[in-house]
């Protein structure tokens, strides 16, 4: 039995034993490199290597694999849909543990306390699959976790969905929990963390923690106690720092006084345990109207954002931004091939664009748009200077337009790569407090213009979180860009922001983490990793580096 509201949690043991030889696996570095190369990289294009590739179908199989790995001192890297962009799932050696065969929906229930329905899934289910099942209400043969949950659910006329939208809906739920994924709609719905009701986490020792939110909290001294299935006890302390949640933040291990144990594992990039089951809350899908409004200056567009962000009538689901440089790039693409982005002509004099969604109901359209109309007048634009749509196909069109920008940036880099194979784009993921946002934008433009580098700025302006993409033309510009990137990171931390608002740290951004955290903070992160995974078997190299210690 679980103790209600204590810092002690009992672990469970996997009852079934499965022989290692019965588990589907691929062995051999060359074989994996030749036949399974996609398992060695993610969207960052960081490349790795592995001796083993496993496809477990159950917790019991994972336990058996972990046993084998620890006996043979082999590390493992948990792999989901590999849509991440910081190399978190990329193996540096050892083995890959792909959870793609654990892809079933295994329960459905109603949470009386929160007044939400919830769905219980294995980690390998994709967000697309979850939403598809929910929208079609295809829940036959799924166990009901509370009486009549499915029957009652089907009787409700509205459509439901899982509201977290990290852009890549082909991501798996497991991957998004491990990285605390967020996205454009975080403005309204918050990051993944806020939608996780429960988790099952398998520790490298083979003990399973069944954590339900609201049941296990750190003691006053920041201590958690895990009662292990063999009778032993595992005690550990959370870091003393308070994880910065005043801005959108995905940098480092979550910690705060009296924190819920479940939050320790969400966003820990797989270094503390393997997530094997997830309960997520779901909500009614609300219809919305997607809009793009063009401005003749960046300042006006920021003023517009400030006016609508907290406006209760407009109540935007997300607010996104294209800078002048971004619009110019898209105008060029459009001039060369209008069909490629399938949108009406981008206004020639547009210097900035804001994308935003507002709730859609026939009764309220007039009230909402009249309110927006008043605001646009103060921002030197008008409602004619916009695109608007509410049908699925229109919403998809506007979404494609937004995604076409980073795709075209990547295409430009790919061309330049032909001449300089080591070249890559530099994409920031920096978030700063609202009061510093204008200064930060000015800083970006001044530094980049002085350096004479190609760049575009776009992203989640609603949360003061925009992505600066630097497009170096040669290796010299790449090195210059890297120095500038570090400058930006330092400036953001100075302002109280985060160096990684949503992409996470993985293996690519560990150096920037040092700008945000002290040596002591990082040591505390290492300590917690060592307490829960003493042999450092799981996802070695994510967030914290252990090589430093031995230096």
């Amino acid at each position: 039995m679980k103790n209600v509201s204590s810092n002690i949690i009992n672990s469970e043991k996997v009852a079934i034993k499965i022989s290692f030889n019965d588990i589907r696996s691929i062995h051999g570095k060359t074989k994996i490199l030749t036949d399974y190369p996609t398992y060695l990289m993610d969207e960052s294009k960081l490349n790795g290597a592995a001796e083993w590739l496993f496809f477990p179908k159950s917790e019991a199989e994972i336990v058996s694999i972990l046993d084998f790995l620890q006996k043979n001192k082999i590390r493992t890297y948990v792999s989901a849909a590999r849509t991440g962009i910081v190399g978190a799932c990329v193996p540096t050696s050892g083995s890959v543990l792909s959870l793609e065969k654990m892809n079933k929906i295994i329960g459905f229930g109603f949470d009386k306390n929160q007044n939400y329905y919830f769905i219980r899934v294995e980690p390998g289910v994709t967000l697309n699959e979850i939403n598809d099942k929910l929208i079609k209400k295809e829940l036959d043969n799924i166990p009901e976790l509370t009486p009549d949950a499915i029957k009652n659910f089907k009787e409700i006329k509205d459509s439901f969905h899982y509201p977290v939208d990290p852009t890549e809906m082909s991501a798996t739920i497991g991957g998004t929990v491990a990285t605390n994924a967020s996205g454009a709609r975080t403005l309204k719905y918050g990051p993944t963390r806020e939608w996780i009701k429960g988790l099952k986490v398998l520790l490298s020792s083979g003990d399973i923690l069944n954590i339900q939110r609201g049941e296990c909290f750190a003691s006053k001294e920041g201590r958690f106690i895990i009662k292990k299935s063999n009778g032993g006890k595992l005690q550990f302390k959370i870091p003393h720092y308070i994880f910065n949640t005043s801005v959108k933040n995905a940098a480092g291990i979550y910690s705060k006084p009296n924190m819920d144990l479940i939050d320790l594992f969400i966003g820990s990039e797989g270094i503390l345990g393997i997530i094997t089951q997830i309960d997520i809350w779901i909500i009614k899908k609300k219809p919305f109207i997607s809009n793009v409004l063009f401005f003749n200056s960046e300042e006006s567009s920021i003023s517009f954002v400030e006016s609508i962000r907290n406006n209760r009538i407009i109540s935007p689901e997300f607010i996104e931004f294209f800078s002048c440089e971004a619009l110019n790039l898209m105008k060029n693409v459009q001039n060369k091939d209008p069909g490629s982005i399938n949108m009406p002509q981008i206004p020639i004099d547009a210097k900035a664009a804001i994308f935003f969604d507002v709730p859609y109901s026939e009764e309220k359209i007039d009230i909402i748009f009249s309110k927006i109309n008043k605001i646009t007048k103060k921002c030197n634009t008008n409602l004619s200077n916009s695109w608007s749509g509410y049908e699925n196909r229109e919403i998809t069109r506007l979404k494609h337009f937004r995604h076409a920008l980073p795709e075209n940036v990547n295409a430009i880099i790919a061309t330049r790569k032909l001449q300089f194979p080591q070249l890559h784009k530099l994409g920031t993921d920096i978030c700063v407090p609202e009061k510093c946002f204008r200064n930060m934008m000015e800083y970006y433009h001044t530094v980049l213009r002085n350096a004479n580098l190609d760049y575009v700025i776009f992203g989640h302006i609603g949360e003061n979180h925009v992505h600066v993409n630097i497009l170096p033309k040669n290796m010299e510009e790449l090195r210059l860009g890297e120095k500038i990137y570090e400058k930006f990171a330092k400036k953001a931390v100075e302002y109280g922001g985060s160096i990684s608002a949503e992409h996470g740290i993985g293996k690519i951004k560990t150096d920037y983490l040092k700008i945000m955290y002290s040596q002591k903070d990082l040591d505390e992160m290492r300590l917690i990793k060592k307490s829960l995974d003493p042999l450092l078997v799981l996802n070695y190299g994510n967030i914290v580096n252990f090589d430093v210690e031995t230096e």
Binding site: P344, F369, G389
Partner: protein, 266 residues
Amino acid sequence: MKIIVTIKQVPEANKVAVNPKTGTLIREGVESILNPFCEYALDMAVKLKTQNPDLKVEIIVISMGPPQAKSALIRCLELGADRAYLLSDRAFAGSDVWATALTLKEGILKKIGNFDLILAGKQAIDGDTAQVPAELAEDLGIPHIYYGFDIKINNKKINVKKETEKGYKVVETRLPALVTISKGPSTIPRLPSMKDMIEARKKPLEIINAKSLNMDENRIGLNGSFTQVFKIFSPPTKEAGEIIDGNDSINAAKKLFMFLKEKKIV
């Protein structure tokens, strides 16, 4: 000049599946949209209005359908139509192409009156019959041209470029006439602005029931229909064919021979 555009609301067809047991469409989570070919017809009307400012073109859309089809008409008003009529009544339910054309004719004559040109999509993406526009033109006693993709107005006549199997031909007719549109004037679909959204909802949209059309009840709905849908089913899926590479003619011939032999054709 009055241009009427007849339109239909349809389920977003690429998302509709047929339940093999009941033979009904699975509509769960599928949105209703303005039939894309009707949108092309509307685009053509808007193009004619823009090109001929001196003709003072008024664009009127009309549809027959359930109450929710109102949203397709609002969509037309957002995209440039000036006013809209929805013929909606339980008595119209079950109309086949014949009854639909007759009802539209009555709606046009009794509510709109004189007109110069009717534009229609070449077909609806759900029923795919492509018969209503021609029947409507016959009922109204006006000429019709199918598969148009460009129209020039010339006094009381129009020149229509219409698709043929080999290319296109230009057909001239006097007005009033009906033209079905197969391809939009712009390759990139338009998007309304927020201003268009507000303005659309201020334009006149009238919902008309069977009684106000004063039609004999034996001529409308199921009673007035000569045909009925007997069964809906998905066409059986075909296996993909195999293409034999002809560059290596000897091997290609061998492969073809083996295939024919296997199928016991030779």
